[in-house]
Symmetry: C2
Subunit: 208 residues, 2 copies
């Protein structure tokens, strides 16, 4: 059994402190907004001082960026986990949509990723993050569908971005209390509308 707080390698210290800071910041950024959360509050929650924060991150915005990055990765992981590769292009897209909407129900995620994120980091930075995580699978799904001739050919970049925007707005509306089935139905209708052949409407919905 090794000593409790004895030797700790510098890399371990850094890793632990950064993780503590990101965890604390995530908690507060999801409870309140970026602007309403101060660095004194964050470091108190993390159990360190502001010196540690500014040692590991350039500024408050950089810490926020790290939180967003992590959260975007988590959402992407949940989606990948929920959509097996054995589905048809269309079913895969629908499964992915449901997984996304479900993932975005985590408290504060919409504000973090869809409201504060774009405002604080800028749309360009958010696009970059999205393309590295969440949007990748969406884009691949769309390209696959187009390649399988089940979807009219369209500029992939633009199509991905606009559908993603619709998903985002749906997540926001649902969190605000709007009927989830309505938004799910419209999302599916939008995607199905892009097929040259009319897909027969599947069973109503998991209605989740």
């Amino acid at each position: 059994m090794q000593q409790e707080s004895g030797h700790r390698s510098n890399r371990d210290r850094t890793e632990a402190t950064r993780a503590d800071l990101i965890r604390a910041a995530r908690k507060l950024f999801t409870e309140k907004s970026y602007a309403e959360t101060g660095t004194p509050e964050i470091v108190a929650e993390a159990g360190v001082t502001r010196g540690a924060l500014y040692h590991h991150f350039a500024d408050k915005q950089a810490l926020f960026g790290a939180v967003v990055e992590q959260e975007a990765a988590a959402v992407a992981a949940e989606i990948d986990h929920a959509s097996p590769p054995s589905l048809s292009a269309r079913d895969a897209l629908i499964a992915g949509s449901d997984a996304y909407l479900e993932a975005m129900r985590a408290p504060g995620r919409t504000r973090l990723l869809l409201l504060d994120g774009p405002a604080v980091l800028g749309r360009a930075a958010m696009d970059e993050i999205d393309n590295r995580h969440g949007n990748r699978s969406l884009r691949e799904g769309l390209v696959a569908a187009m390649r399988a001739q089940t979807m009219t050919r369209l500029p992939a970049e633009a199509l991905t971005a606009l559908l993603a925007a619709a998903f985002d707005r749906a997540a926001l509306a649902i969190e605000a209390g709007a009927p989830a089935e309505d938004y799910r139905a419209v999302l599916i209708a939008l995607m199905d509308g892009l097929s040259p052949v009319r897909p027969r409407p599947t069973r109503p919905a998991p209605s989740r």
Copy 2:
């Protein structure tokens, strides 16, 4: 000829000062971000003191709200102005889309209405503003199309919100330098996809 700075009714003073403040704030909020713009800077630009600001507006956020309100109304006016009522439902929607994308090219408008707006005022407040101005015509256009059987019946609220979200993202992408034709094409494809009958693709585009 009446005296230059002689009598000025209180209502005139209020109106003028409020207008000056909103104008100055709009200028700065579109040049920089909400967070980067300080009230000292705003009042200097407006030629008043901070006392005047806090006399007329509850806080900085309220002033921002007034700016957003005005800007949303301006966008809606430009759209209404550009879409004559003599068009078919589909053509009217396309004309409205083009007008919207064109209106959003005004410098700083995307940041004001699409980035800072939702983050500072919240999505709920922005929805309320949008529904009072811009989205109204979009929603009416969609309902008209559905009623004319040229569009599958879908929950109007959700459809309006999601299409609006796509428009918004398109405006952001275009401002970021993305090819406008791509996004216009996808937007039209999304709307056309909702028709039971396949509309034949019209001439390429104004390609603006």
